[in-house]
């Protein structure tokens, strides 16, 4: 398509209609539209799409090896799978129900390794997941930062990248979100270099993303 601009491997920005799409030989996974070999990447369904649409650039290469915590039914993973054509995604999810749908995706795509496990216990899958370039986390739990850090300790290559999504209300529902975000950033600063962060409005309410690099 002529008026599409490639912003990442296989990710295209349609500036005219303010939307992004991934080039994909596979059928739609979550009800998104498919147009001439491109799957529309819906920002209200996938937080990563919201980050990209807001103009932030996340360094995903065709050969990136990724550990993905909180795969759910695979909405976002399906697009990342389009991007990492020579890479691999280790997808961790704790709940069985959404994983049924996820397994359909995993059977179709060659670069997804599905693992039904608790992300707060990386030791349980330590003999399965290799050292990775990128850790992605979208799990909305009170101790999610600690979980993020533990997974880096287990699986991150030196200077690995990370992207974490934090929902203020799942950390503390009584405090002001702005304050919580400040704490989150400060806590992350101990082990990570902060590359960028922002909220996800207007696509997702009360969420921020933080893009980081592991200091080790």
């Amino acid at each position: 398509m002529k008026n599409f601009r490639e912003i990442l491997n296989n990710v295209f920005l349609d500036e005219e209609r303010k939307r992004i799409l991934t080039k994909s030989p596979y059928p739609p996974h979550y009800g998104e539209r498919k147009i001439d070999g491109y799957r529309e990447w819906i920002p209200t369904r996938s937080k990563l799409a919201a980050v990209l649409l807001k103009g932030y650039r996340i360094d995903l290469k065709p050969n990136t090896k990724m550990l993905y915590l909180g795969a759910a039914s695979g909405t976002t993973v399906s697009h990342i799978s389009d991007i990492l054509t020579k890479g691999i995604i280790y997808a961790i999810e704790y709940s069985a129900k959404p994983f049924v749908k996820f397994l359909k995706l995993a059977r179709e795509r060659k670069n997804i390794i599905p693992i039904l496990a608790d992300a707060s216990q990386p030791q349980k899958y330590s003999g399965i997941v290799e050292k990775v370039d990128f850790i992605y986390q979208d799990i909305a739990q009170r101790n999610q930062i600690e979980i993020f850090r533990e997974n880096f300790r287990f699986f991150a290559k030196d200077k690995a990248l990370g992207l974490i999504f934090v929902k203020a209300r799942s950390i503390d529902s009584t405090r002001d979100p702005e304050e919580i975000y400040k704490d989150v950033i400060n806590e992350l600063k101990r082990d990570f270099e902060i590359l960028s962060y922002d909220d996800l409005s207007p696509y997702h309410k009360d969420h921020i993303f933080v893009y980081v690099r592991w200091r080790k």
């Binding site: 129900k97 049924v100 397994l103 390794i113 599905p114 030791q123 330590s126 003999g127 050292k131 699986f155």
Partner: protein, 263 residues
């Protein structure tokens, strides 16, 4: 001496050598290590499987996940119900023992009485663990119900009804009065006899601060609204299992509106 033994999905690494497992599915499920591995599993695995490493890993991972998923879906709601019932029993027992302890202490503070007290404290600690387990399973099998009313009340609803499947089939009006069956049927029989009756506004869900915290005349409205969202939540939990934050948010907004509005 360092103990160099690592459990990998395709076997065990010990003293610089890999012993490849004969049953990959089994070794996959036991690939646990207390600390990070000092090497990358894939490098070691490529020595064994060559180019087919990821193909093999993917095949085993999918097979394993499929088995787990099937088992989990069947068991988890029964598990949580059994836990809730055990918790009830434990509470009763602790209360009873506490009473006996008090009696004993008034008579004599002997070594065995102190021992007894220690055992009761142990039980109370265990009760905390049991509650945590209930919360964590509920989050997993019923994220939407849990988000709206909290894990405890959600677990109680499940326990009263018997399974997530049944809960998903109930209309909101029934969910609203789960746990208030006695007063409901009493009211219904009075109505049948042509007498005046008070139909209950809420059952188990009354325990939630959003209902308890409102003045009496607003509780019915809140309970009705909450039950309608719970009915939707139960269906999403049963059929999809993914969290939709909107539901809980709507309930919170309704509560805020009702608690502000003086009428």
């Amino acid at each position: 001496m360092l103990k160099l033994k690592y459990n990998l999905w395709f076997g065990v690494y010990e003293n610089g050598k890999v012993k490849v497992s004969k049953n990959l599915k089994e070794s996959f499920s036991k690939a646990e290590n207390p600390e990070p591995l000092p090497f990358s599993v894939s490098e070691m695995g490529t020595d064994i499987f060559g180019k087919k490493y990821y193909e093999e890993l993917r095949r085993i991972a999918i097979d394993h996940a499929e088995e787990l998923v099937e088992g989990e879906l069947k068991r988890e709601d029964r598990y949580v119900i059994a836990l809730v019932r055990s918790l009830d029993e434990l509470n009763r027992t602790i209360n009873l023992l506490d009473e006996k302890l008090r009696d004993l202490k008034e008579i004599k503070e002997s070594a065995i009485v102190r021992d007894f007290e220690e055992k009761i404290l142990d039980l109370k600690r265990f009760r905390g663990e049991l509650e945590k387990e209930i919360e964590s399973v509920m989050r997993k099998i019923a994220p939407n119900l849990s988000e709206i009313v909290g894990e405890k009340i959600a677990a109680r609803l499940l326990e009263k009804v018997g399974s997530l499947e049944k809960l998903a089939e109930l209309p909101a009006s029934t969910i609203q009065v789960i746990g208030a069956e006695r007063s409901l049927f009493k009211a219904l029989s009075r109505i049948r006899r042509g007498k005046e009756a008070k139909v209950p506004k809420h059952g188990v869900i009354f325990q939630h601060p959003f209902i308890k915290g409102l003045p009496k005349r607003k509780r019915g409205k809140m309970a009705r609204f909450m039950a309608s969202k719970l009915a939707i939540a139960a269906r999403i939990d049963y059929f999809k299992g993914e969290l939709y934050e909107k539901l809980a948010e709507e309930v919170r907004k309704k509560y805020e509106k009702l608690s502000r509005n003086p009428k």
